[in-house]
C-alpha cells in the first residue's frame, strides 16, 4: 500500500453556495487510507456542508469528489460506499438496537444468516450485545452514540464520516470516547473523517487535520505541525493558546514592540505580529527580557498559567509554568519574560 501517493478520498476544488452565501469555496483535500482525518473550524466555516457533500446530501456547484479514484459526486447517498454518523445519531426510534444495525445490511440484500452474523459481531466489538433488544430511548447518551457508530461500522464503509460525534456527551464521557473512537478506527481499519469545532478533540484524535474558515481551507497537516507551525494568525489563535505581540520588523530582521527587541531570521521589514505559545515563554532574571507584572494566576493541576501584563501587548500574556517549580508567584509580582526567537512565529502585516 502506498498511502502517501494514493489518497482514498480526494476532494478536488469543491465549492458550494446556498443562494448568495458561499458555504464552501474551492476546497481541495486528500484523505489517505486508514487515516483519522479531522475537519476543524468554527461554526459556519463550511465543514458540515463539506461533510454532507461527501455523504451525498448536498451537490457541489463545482469540483469533484473521488473515492478510490472514482468520481462519486453524481451518486445519491444510498449508492455511495461511505457512511455518515449523524450528530443527532438519527437512530430509528421504532427499531431495536439490533434492527437499527441490521437495517443497512438488509438494504444490501444480504442473506439473513450473514446479516445476523455481522450484526452480532459488531454488537460485541462495540460492547452493545446486552442492549441488542432495547429501543433507542432506553439507552443513555453514550450508548446511543455507540449504536450510531456501530450502525455505520457494520456496513464496512470505505470511509466513515462523523459529524460532531461527541458533541452531545458530557466532558468526562467525551474524553473517554475520544480514545475509544480512535481505538475502533484502528481496529476496523477504516478511514475516519470527523467534523468538529473542538480543537482539543481534533488534536487528540486526528492523524491529520484541515482547518477551515469562511468556506476556505487554511491549513492541512498533522496536529503537531499545525500546533507548532500555524500558517496564519487565525490558525495560531484557533489551535491551542497563543500570545500575540503586535510590532514591526525593522531593517536587519529586528522585531520591535514596546519593551521588546528580538532578532529574527528571515523576517521582512514592515508591521508584523509575533506569536508564541505560553509554554515557550521562560522566566528570566529581573532586568533582562520583557518586563511585566502578574495580573492573574490560574491553577491547572500540573501547571499554572500566569497572566502577565506587559507594555508589549494590551492583552496580558499567558505564561505556563510547572507547579513543581520552586518559585512561588503572587499576583502583583514583577517578573521578566525571556522569549526564544526560535520558538516564535512571525506573521507579517498589521493586526486585523
Amino acid at each position: 500500500m502506498n498511502a502517501e501517493t494514493s489518497p482514498i478520498l480526494r476532494i478536488e476544488s469543491v465549492a458550494k453556495s446556498f443562494g448568495p452565501v458561499t458555504a464552501v469555496d474551492g476546497v481541495s483535500i486528500d484523505v489517505r487510507e486508514n487515516e483519522f482525518f479531522a475537519l476543524l473550524g468554527p461554526s459556519g466555516c463550511g465543514k458540515t456542508t463539506l461533510l454532507r457533500m461527501l455523504a451525498g446530501f448536498e451537490t457541489p456547484n463545482a469540483g469533484r469528489i473521488l473515492l478510490d479514484g472514482r468520481d462519486i459526486s453524481p451518486l445519491p447517498p444510498e449508492k455511495r460506499p461511505l457512511n455518515l454518523m449523524f450528530q443527532s445519531y438519527a437512530l430509528f426510534p421504532h427499531m431495536s438496537v439490533r434492527q437499527n444495525l441490521a437495517y443497512g445490511l438488509e438494504m444490501e440484500r444480504l442473506e439473513k444468516a450473514e446479516i445476523r452474523r455481522r450484526v452480532d459481531e459488531t454488537l460485541s466489538t462495540t460492547d452493545l450485545t446486552q442492549f441488542a433488544d432495547r429501543k433507542p430511548d432506553q439507552l443513555s447518551g453514550g450508548q446511543k452514540q455507540r449504536v450510531a457508530l456501530a450502525r455505520a461500522l457494520v456496513k464496512r464503509p470505505k470511509v466513515l464520516l462523523l459529524d460532531e460525534p461527541l458533541g452531545a456527551l458530557d466532558k468526562k464521557l467525551r474524553e473517554k470516547m475520544q480514545l475509544e473512537l480512535k481505538r475502533m478506527q484502528h481496529e476496523a481499519g477504516i478511514t475516519f473523517v470527523i467534523v468538529t469545532h473542538d480543537q482539543e478533540e481534533a488534536l487528540v484524535m486526528a492523524d491529520r487535520m484541515a482547518i477551515l474558515k469562511d468556506g476556505r481551507l487554511l491549513q492541512v497537516g498533522t496536529p503537531e505541525a499545525i500546533y507548532e507551525r500555524p500558517a496564519d494568525r487565525f490558525v495560531a489563535n484557533f489551535i491551542g493558546v497563543m500570545n500575540f505581540i503586535d510590532g514591526r520588523v525593522g531593517e536587519g530582521g529586528l522585531f520591535e514592540a514596546e519593551g521588546l527587541r528580538l532578532a529574527l531570521a528571515d523576517a521582512g521589514p514592515g508591521p508584523a505580529t509575533l506569536a508564541i505559545r505560553p509554554e515557550n515563554v521562560a522566566l528570566g532574571a529581573l532586568g533582562e527580557g520583557l518586563a511585566g507584572t502578574i495580573a492573574d494566576i490560574a491553577y491547572h493541576g500540573l501547571d499554572r498559567v500566569l497572566h502577565v501584563k506587559t507594555a508589549a501587548s494590551p492583552v496580558p500574556l499567558q505564561i505556563r509554568v510547572p507547579v513543581s517549580g520552586t518559585a512561588t508567584h503572587q499576583v502583583g509580582d514583577a517578573l521578566s519574560l525571556r522569549i526564544d526567537p526560535a520558538r516564535c512565529r512571525l506573521f507579517a502585516g498589521a493586526a486585523a
Partner: protein
C-alpha cells in the same frame, strides 16, 4: 395538596364546568331515555325497558350500522390516501411557506358546511358542471347519475374532512427529525424504501389520529348523506335524526345514539392508546 398541584386543576375548571353543564349532562339526559318506553303520543313513558337496545340489534338497523361503517371506512381510506401526499409535500416545502400552504389546506373550513355541501349538488347533478364538462369533451349518452349515489356521499365526506387529516399527518411529519430519513438513505435505502421503513411507520400516529377523526365524524354524519345521498342511502346519523324528529321515538333514537357514541369512544380510546404507545417508544430522537 401543594399549590403547584392544584393550579392546573383550577385552570381546567371553567372548561370542565362548561362541558359538564352543556354537553355531558344533556347527553346523559337524552341517553337515559333509551331505558324507557315511548309514550303513546310521542314523548316518554317512564317505564324501564331494554327493548330499545334489542331493536338496535335488529338486522334492519344493524345493516344500516354496518353500511354506515363501510361508508365511513371508505371515506377514511380515501381521505388518508389524498391527505398523506399533500401533508408530505407541505412538510417538505420551505419553512416559511408551510403556514401559507396549511392555510390553503384548511381554507374550505372557513365557509359554511351546508354551503360547501350544496356546492357539490351543483357540481354533480344531471345538468351540473361535471356532466357539462364530459359532454363538452364529446360524450353524447345519457347524463351520468352522479348525485344521490353512495359515491356522492363519500365524495362529500372526504371533501369536508380532508383538512383534518392533512393537519394531523402534517403535524407528525413536521416533527420528524429529517436526519432519520437521511440516515436511511445513507444506510443504502432509496427514497421508496426509506418511506416504507422509516417515514410511514413513524408517522402512523398522525395517520391514526386523522383517520379515527374522519371515521368518527363520518359514521355519525347526517347532513351529507341527506343532501348528497338524497335520503336513499341511510346512515346511522339519519336514522337517529329520523327517530327524534320524524318518528318521534326518542327512546329508540337515544339507544341508537348510545350505540354510535360507544363506537366512537372505543375508537378514540384505541387511537389514544396507540399514539401514547408509539410516542412512548421515543420519538424524541429529534432533540
Amino acid at each position: 395538596m401543594s399549590f403547584n398541584a392544584t393550579r392546573p386543576n383550577l385552570l381546567a375548571a371553567p372548561g370542565v364546568a362548561w362541558l359538564m353543564a352543556f354537553m355531558v349532562v344533556p347527553c346523559l339526559l337524552v341517553l337515559s331515555y333509551a331505558f324507557f318506553q315511548r309514550g303513546v303520543w310521542g314523548g316518554i313513558d317512564y317505564t324501564f325497558t331494554l327493548e330499545n337496545f334489542a331493536r338496535v340489534a335488529d338486522p334492519l338497523y344493524a345493516r344500516i350500522f354496518l353500511n354506515s361503517a363501510r361508508i365511513a371506512l371508505t371515506t377514511t381510506v380515501i381521505a388518508i390516501l389524498i391527505a398523506y401526499p399533500a401533508a408530505y409535500a407541505i412538510s417538505r416545502a420551505p419553512r416559511l411557506r408551510q403556514p401559507i400552504l396549511l392555510f390553503f389546506a384548511v381554507l374550505p373550513f372557513w365557509s359554511n358546511y351546508l354551503i360547501r355541501t350544496y356546492a357539490w349538488i351543483v357540481l354533480l347533478n344531471r345538468e351540473g358542471l361535471v356532466n357539462n364538462l364530459i359532454r363538452s369533451l364529446g360524450y353524447t349518452g345519457e347524463p351520468l347519475s352522479l348525485l344521490y349515489t353512495e359515491g356522492a356521499v363519500i365524495t362529500g365526506l372526504v371533501y369536508n374532512y380532508l383538512p383534518f387529516v392533512i393537519l394531523a399527518i402534517y403535524s407528525t411529519l413536521s416533527r420528524l427529525n429529517p436526519e432519520l430519513m437521511e440516515a436511511s438513505r445513507d444506510l443504502g435505502a432509496g427514497p421508496v424504501r426509506t418511506f416504507w421503513r422509516v417515514t410511514l411507520p413513524l408517522t402512523l400516529p398522525g395517520v391514526a389520529a386523522g383517520g379515527v377523526f374522519v371515521f368518527v365524524l363520518s359514521i355519525g354524519n347526517f347532513v351529507t348523506p341527506a343532501l348528497l345521498g338524497g335520503g336513499r342511502f341511510q346512515m346511522v346519523g339519519n336514522l337517529v335524526y329520523d327517530q327524534f324528529l320524524t318518528a318521534n321515538d326518542w327512546p329508540f333514537g337515544a339507544a341508537l345514539g348510545m350505540a354510535l357514541i360507544a363506537t366512537m369512544i372505543v375508537l378514540l380510546f384505541a387511537q389514544a392508546r396507540a399514539t401514547a404507545h408509539a410516542s412512548g417508544e421515543g420519538r424524541g430522537e429529534a432533540a
